[in-house]
Every structure is written in structure tokens, then in C-alpha cells.
Symmetry: C2
Subunit: 349 residues, 2 copies
Amino acid sequence: MTAPVTLPDTAPLVLTRCRDLVRPALSRAVQRLHPWHAGMAAFSLGWSDVDGSPLPGPQGKGLRQALAVLGAEAAGGPGEDAVVGAVAVELIHTFSLLHDDIMDGDETRRQRPTVWKAYGTGPAVLAGDALFALAVQTLADAPGGYGAPAVRRLASALSDLVRGQAEDLLFESRPWTGTGAVRPQEYRSMAENKTGALLGCAAALGAELAGAPGGTADALDRAGRHLGVAFQAVDDLLGIWGDPAATGKPVHSDLRRRKKTFPVLAALASGHPAARRLDTLLSTGGPLGEEACRRAAGLVEDAGGRAAALAEAHENLASARDCLERVPLAPAAHEEILALLPFLVRRTG
Amino acid sequence: MTAPVTLPDTAPLVLTRCRDLVRPALSRAVQRLHPWHAGMAAFSLGWSDVDGSPLPGPQGKGLRQALAVLGAEAAGGPGEDAVVGAVAVELIHTFSLLHDDIMDGDETRRQRPTVWKAYGTGPAVLAGDALFALAVQTLADAPGGYGAPAVRRLASALSDLVRGQAEDLLFESRPWTGTGAVRPQEYRSMAENKTGALLGCAAALGAELAGAPGGTADALDRAGRHLGVAFQAVDDLLGIWGDPAATGKPVHSDLRRRKKTFPVLAALASGHPAARRLDTLLSTGGPLGEEACRRAAGLVEDAGGRAAALAEAHENLASARDCLERVPLAPAAHEEILALLPFLVRRTG
């Protein structure tokens, strides 16, 4: 099967359909939390403001819940089979945002204060824990004897997720170049763990909950992991060249913070003359000002870092497609999964 | 069956035997973590120092792992059956210490720096998450089809645990007296959730993993919950009148922090004339100095708060014993569980 021609607006429609299917169960799950934690969860999910007043429309894309639903449908089951898994992965995603924002010191997300900024660090740690516990509880209660393998897969993804976050945090203290520098393969492993593990888990859980054979779930899991690397590469591109109006972050934000992102690492490893100038610029102490950021972005581009990150994203999307080709999937759901892939890369635009 | 006469040193022997049984599997589990997280876990467990150098002897009592092992033995199985559950509850206990110390701002624990103080807040949040994920993963992999019910029980205990911590944190902003004051029953519920849920889960998991019927596991769970309330009441007594050399905390530490503990709440609710003086003292702004703390401790005692907390501990230990009487348990293990109970109260010394 070759990649089908899809209408440009298929992806948003797919995301909306899956969100609508999952939302009632996700709302019910959140209501099981202590009211304090339910409030923080609703705030983080974009459902309500700090004072509890409802906000119109969905804030997040809901990519993980969509992958769970499409995983079930790709396995020939109804999307409803995946709902318990979709709820679990959305809760885990929300938990990881709450805790990651604390670790990264991020004060805003999607143009709103982060949970720790709005409610305090301690409450945000605890609300994250509550979401984590609720996700495991939700999945363990899955009907039809699917609870045990589903929890095993989620727990394994969670271990990878925290490992990836650890790798990312430890990158910060490593040198830009030389023997201690972060190699592209280490970056890929970090991105696969930090972002890919949960995306893969989402799709695989959906398939498993619909009774798919292990091979199908594993193929979806691998596809999701490639998708995670692509997603992270695109995120890195947006962190340097993204439109602040669209990303909600200041221009060059990742450069300003001297974040070890794929474009920068690829540029430094390129051997291009611009790489040495970039290294000098990044290795100078003190904050990186507006002009220095602009110069750094230019040097990353000159040394091929931007092109390398874009290629990394495209290669991993191709690998994700390959994974999906190797197992029998229901054609309509397969097509909808494929429709989500370019949607991710269009985010660079 | 009446409470058996036990030699005074039975409890430490029981704890040591259970720790020795669980330790190899717990060490192997910790080794599965990212090395950074394994180091923080080993530090928190008292196995090693910040620089990774090994420390002699066990630091924690290991009450939770002991309850898991004894739960299996009480159900007529070998203690080995419980090891996977014992590892899970110890990992969860360690996770909760890491995160609670962040939320409470505690800088020392057992005369050593807390993990966030030694390694930083972000790393401590992440290490806690890693321990949480590892606990779920360990239990989900339990052999013999026991994984699913075991994970369900752990997840339920985890939800209670974070709910209890939320209740405790929210007590801080409530008034000492009047309609918004924390009622003793609310305090009991908090203690049962925060401390009892995991103790009960430990004993019940052990029994379940040894193939006990649901009724036996549930009785052990309820006993552990009573034990948790007793444990918390004793902890509160130690937080006011404990010997700093034994507790590792400054004298009157809970009063200094204006913590809403059972002795204080019971004193304020007593109607005794000392209660009003205590209320005035606690409601005055600014830090509570050494002399004010001494006066407050005296007023709590005069108003019957110390006696009430001790009675609360004893009543809950009696209720725990009652729960154990109602189901058939292997006599030797039953006796060893009973031996642990007074050991807890002796901590008040």
C-alpha cells in the first residue's frame, strides 16, 4: 500500500472525532480525583481556568487518545474498545506535562501559566502523582481480562518516559563538542523514550484492548516510537524557527536557554566551518541575547542543522509508515493514522 | 485468640528477617532504574551516600515489606510469594517520601538531607516518578496471573495515598477552631489514606500473592488501615514530645510549624479551658519560638490532647487486632504481625 492521498483537513477531523469519543470517559475519570486535583487536571487539559470557570473548546490536540482509538479500529475493533486506554494515556500525558514543567522551570504552556506556576510546586507534584495513580487504576480496571497486559505495556512505557526525561535533563550539563558531547544516536534514544514511548503505547494499547494479536500491537508501538522522534525533531525546529504566535513561546526560545536540541547537535557534528563559530558562541558564558540567538540560528542553518532535523523527522515518519505496512490493519483506520503523520510535520510551516 | 505474649525483641527480629528476604529482589529492581535514579533511590533507602559510597546497615524499619511477607505467611504461603509485592510497596513508600519531602519543604529525614535537598527538586520529582513506574511494572509482571488484581489493589491504595496527602496539605489553610476547623474524623480519614492505605495494601498484596481468598486479603487491608491511623497518631506524639536524638527532628518541631496534628486538634476540640489559651497562642502570627512551643505543648497536654492521641493509637491497634481475629490466619505469622503492633507504640517511649 502506498501513502493514500488525503484531504488536507482529514487530520483535524480525525482528532476531533477521537476527542469526542473519549471525552465523556476522561471527564468521568478526572471526577474521581480529589476536587483539588480535578481542578488542576481540568486547568491543565484546557477545560477550565484557575478559578474553575469553564473554557470554550479543546486546548490540546489529543494526539495520544486519537492513536489509541485508531489503534483499536486498525485492529478491526470499534474505537470504543480503546477508550479506557485512551483515558489512561491522556492522564499520563497530563501527569508528565505537570512534572516536566516543574523540572524545566517552564512558566507558560500554550500561552497560559503552567500548573506549578498557577497552583504552586508542591500541589503540582501531587496532582501529577494523582493523575499517574488514576491512569494505572483506570487501566487495571479494564474489562475482559485485558487489564494485566495493558498495565504491563503502560508501566513499561512509563519507565521509558522517565528515562527519556532523565537523559534530556542530563544532556544539559554535557559539553557541546568533544568526547562528552551528545551523539545524535543518544538524542534519538532520548526522544524515543521521552516522546515516542507513550505515543507507541497509546496505539498499541488501543489495538490490544480490541483483541489484536501481539505482533500488531508491537508494530503500532514501534510506529509510535518513530513518530515520537519525528515529533521531537519538529518540536526542536519550532523551538528555534517557530512562529511565536503559533508556538506560544518566544522566538529562538530553545537557543536562548542553550537547549541541546537536534538541529544544534547536528550542526555541531557536521564538520562545516559554521560549526566551530556556533560552538564558540554557545560556549560563551552568560545569557544569549536576541542578536546572539539570531546569529546562532543562522549558523545552525548554515551548518545544515535545520535540514538535518527536517530529514530526521521525515525519515522517522517513513519508518513509522513502514511499521504499519508490515501488519494487517483495517484500511480506513490505517489511512487515518497516515493522515495524522504529515499533520505533525506541517507544524513546521 | 488473645494477643500472644511475645518476647520484647520479636519485632526487630521479624523486621530483619523480612528485610533480608526482600532485599535481593529490591536491589535488583532498583538496578533496573536509570543510574541517576538508582543512585537517588539507594540514597533514600539508606544504602549509600550522595557520592554513591555504601552505608552500613539498614536505615528504614521496612515495615511495609514486612507486612507483605507476613501477609503471605498468614495466608499459609511461603514469604517468598510476597516478595514482588514487598518490592512494589517499598518502592512506592520511597516514591512518596521523595515527593512528600518536596511538598512539606522538609530538608532532613533520619538525620540526613532529603533527596530534593541533596540532588535538587527536579531530579527528586523525576526519581519519585521513576520509582512509581518501577513499582507498577514490578507488580504487573507478577507471575501466576496475580498481576492484575495486585495492580488493582496497589493503584487503589495509591489513589488513597495521594488523596490523604492532599487532605493533609489542605488542613494547613484551615482555621484552628470554629466551623471550618479540622474535625477528628477528617483527621482519621486523612491518616488512613495517607499512611494506612499503603500498610493495608502491603499486607493484602502479600496474602493475595500467596493465593489467599479475597476476604482474608480485605481483612488484612483493613487491619493495615487501622495500623496507619495508630502510626500517624504516634508520629504526631513524637512530633511534639519525641526525643530529638531518636526522631532526628528538633523538639516540638510540629508545633513550631503549626502543623494540624491529632493531639493539637483533640486538645482544641476538648472544651477544656486550656484549649482557648492554646487557640490564642496558635492563632498569633509570626513564628512560634522555643518558649511558645513549650507553653503550647503544656496546653495540649493539659487539654487532654496527648492522652487522646495515645488512646487513638491504642484503639486503632485494638481494631487492627480485631480485623485479624475475624479471618483464619496461620498462627505463627499472625503472632509475628501482632508483635509488630506494640513495637509501633513503643516508639513514643
